[in-house]
Amino acid sequence: MLDSKIPSGTLDQKWTSYKGHCKLVNPANKRKLEVIVVGTGLAGASAAASLGELGYQVKAFCFQDSPRRAHSIAAQGGINAAKNYQNDGDSVYRLFYDTIKGGDYRAREANVHRLAEVSVNIIDQCVAQGVPFAREYGGLLNNRSFGGTQVKRTFYAAGQTGQQLLIGAYQALERQVALGNVTMHTRHEMLDVVVIDGKARGIICRNLVTGELERHFGHAVLLCTGGYGNVFYLSTNAMGSNVTAAWKAHKKGAYFANPCFTQIHPTCIPVSGDHQSKLTLMSESLRNDGRIWVPAKAGDKRPANDIPEEERDYFLERRYPAFGNLVPRDVASRAAKERCDAGYGVGTTGQAVYLDFKYNLINKYGKAEANKQGIQHPDTDTLIRLGKEVVKEEYGNLFDMYEKITGENPYEVPMRIYPAVHYTMGGLWVDYELMTSVKGLYALGEANFSDHGANRLGASALMQGLADGYFVIPYTIGNYLADEIATKPIPTDHPAFIEAEQQAADRINKLISINGTKTVESFHKRLGKIMWDQCGMARSEKGLTKAIEEIRQLKKEFWSDVKIPGSVNEMNPELDKAGRVADFIELGELMCIDALDRNESCGGHFREESQTEEGEALRDDQQYAYVAAWAYQSENNWQLNKEPLTFEVAKPSQRSYK
């Protein structure tokens, strides 16, 4: 019953063959078809722009004041592409293989291969739009390396790659707005999908400025609404990032796949206190040049620079000599947690490790720059000075950001870092065409589950968002809409629209009428703590069972004691937040149920019951080589559908980065 619609043929021919045989919509008919795009990050903006260019009538929605604010903008390090400009052995196959292996063999081969294939087109497209990627002195594009790979295939724009890519997609989107092909609705939040005769036909959304509910028709609906990391309260996501659109779709019949697959990113600025509202990432690209260490002696409280070389434990280099500081994110995160739990952590909380740039400042950048400038036998101070200049160009904005937040200068003292929730590999289940289990309802980018398996490699999120929006959906949506050309726009006074709007209104009215004693924020914090403790870096049957009970209790309390100020028919950010937190609570329960079902350690999912004698993650391909696609049945009740994963080309092996 789960048909992933993978085309036949050999892996490297599937996408070519699909494109050659899928149905097309002629230009005259495209103009009659309306497409709704929810979310305007990399996936949404690129999809809306590309579909507008093709001639569809697009309506795009975002909750921010402008599509340029979407959280893709905060991605720092870079975007992968199999260009092999560095002549270091890269290829489409290598990128495909690294992504499948990095995802710990829990992603679909066909989707990932397609992703690797179109990665090269993405870079071309972005450069044509004017995205100012980093360049060499010869005028050609530069690359850097990233965790989990042994080639340099990452394109970047200082530490602001996401910003530059999003601005590129945003400008393409605004061009279509100017041409009248896209209508943009900012400060709008989607509250439901309207399904008529089994097909998605529109959405209900709230105008966040006036509080009014609106109905919008579309022949198809695309959810490009990002991930749900904020279920943990503290994450590197933006404050507004939420699961509401995806969750409403789930309750209308879209399966939610692998919800427990969460990425805990190793290099974030540690929590400083209870007031903390969010966490800030320090790009993984810093692991290229920074060495991660803790004092070799537990409880050593000396300042970092006073600890001599021989009393430091470079634990990643020690445990994983082949990849060293460039092991994948899940491996690096667990290793840091292990050291801190064992009492070797640094900083006031002891929940941090050092990321130190001094070695490469001197030995890599300093020496190269001295050579270039013809300085013979430079002393250490000169090397540091020269090295700093290069590092400033590569990562200046990140170093500045670190200093603003912590008040410490990372050029002088090592950064303190600790893992934090960063990305969610799980999401709405989609087939090869990116269609969910509801016909005509699509999910793109982080909102879907398809390409990263149990762990996403660095610099792959930007790649996937843009692949889905620029190069996949323009083909696959045609295959669906070709059969819809006779469907006239459905008036929004259709009973299904009225009913969906009524349900949204009822829920809002119910929320505001509770008038209890506790703030929305306090519930969100409590949910986050349960999730982080029991469904975070390490999970166990006992902890997850307890968490499910606690979440159910929290839900009852929320719906009887939450306090929301203001009224319904006005701008009311607390009301918006309440709706989002209510959905996060329900999602949190499903995440724990999914984590409980998966009694194996794979990628970002570390089950304490499933580890090797050395404490490394132990995957169980016999029992768990499947995608867990959950169907919503009723409150606290989901049905598990399994999509078996078969690997014809990249044969699963236990990951080793040693």
């Binding site: 004041d65 870079i123 061009r175 707005v177 100017a178 206190g273 007031h275 603003k404």
Partner: protein
């Protein structure tokens, strides 16, 4: 780094909606940690207001890492507060001392009408981009990314201009509410690159026309915009915009 706590007095602009005339309200806030961000301090105040049965202060914010450009507070007479090259969300409370009074207002400009409290409508910026802030290339049209080498210095300059986050601090700081730094940054970003060259004349003319239409003021080269820009966008971009605009105006072919 030594941490401390402080008690502060906040004077915050409250305005129910676009039609309300608005006024300042004074709030004491207690036990603020020097490690908090400015917005976390506002979070603390808002939680207190909700518990007291009052309406929390509405303000725009999202990424809280200084890149989305959504936060927009005018703090003690300066957009984004006292730090150089900084956004409100990245301002931390160690910038203040026990007993300080802090005045918080929204951006003030005719082209940025207040929506509620500290939130303003910056959709004028989107419409300026719609007027020409892009390269007209459809998806799939592109040649190989390395087919056109671009001098590193030019690419770096284009990147420096493209780093604009569209927050509007430049407009808020300008006595004329001019958007020249914003427009100059976009025109420069695209004019410095060979890909942007074919449309450079129309781009400069149309973006400036839209800027005027939105009600932004004229530039008198005061430089307040550059001084408060969180991304350090240089005023050279305004000079480049003027050159682009003049050259476009003087030539026959657009």
């Amino acid at each position: 780094m030594q941490h401390y706590t402080m008690n502060l007095t906040l004077k915050v602009w409250r305005q129910k909606n676009a039609n309300d005339s608005g006024h300042f309200e004074t709030y004491p806030v207690k036990d603020i940690s020097s490690e908090m961000s400015f917005l976390e301090m506002i979070d603390v105040l808002n939680e207190q207001l909700i518990k007291d049965g009052k309406e929390p202060i509405a303000f725009d914010h999202d990424c809280r890492e200084g890149i989305c450009g959504m936060c927009s507070m005018y703090i003690n007479g300066r957009p984004h507060g006292p730090w150089q090259h900084n956004t409100t969300c990245q301002l931390h409370m160690r910038a203040y001392n026990d007993g300080d009074t802090i005045v918080v207002e929204p951006w003030r400009a005719n082209a940025f009408p207040v929506i509620k409290d500290l939130m303003v409508d910056r959709s004028a910026f989107d419409r300026i981009i719609q007027a020409g802030g892009y390269i007209s290339v459809n998806t799939g049209n592109a040649v190989d990314a390395n087919a056109t080498p671009i001098e590193k210095d030019k690419a770096d300059d284009a990147f420096a201009a493209a780093a604009c986050i569209g927050c509007g601090a430049c407009v808020a700081a300008c006595k004329n509410s001019s958007a020249m730094l914003f427009v100059g940054a976009k025109v420069s970003h695209l004019a410095l690159l060979p890909q942007g060259s074919p449309e450079r004349k129309n781009r400069a003319l149309n973006m400036v026309a839209q800027m005027d239409k939105e009600g932004f003021g004229a530039c008198t080269n005061t430089g307040a915009c550059e001084a408060v820009c969180p991304k350090g966008i240089s005023i050279e971009n305004i000079a480049r915009l003027n050159r682009e605009y003049m050259m476009a105006g003087l030539s026959d072919d657009k």
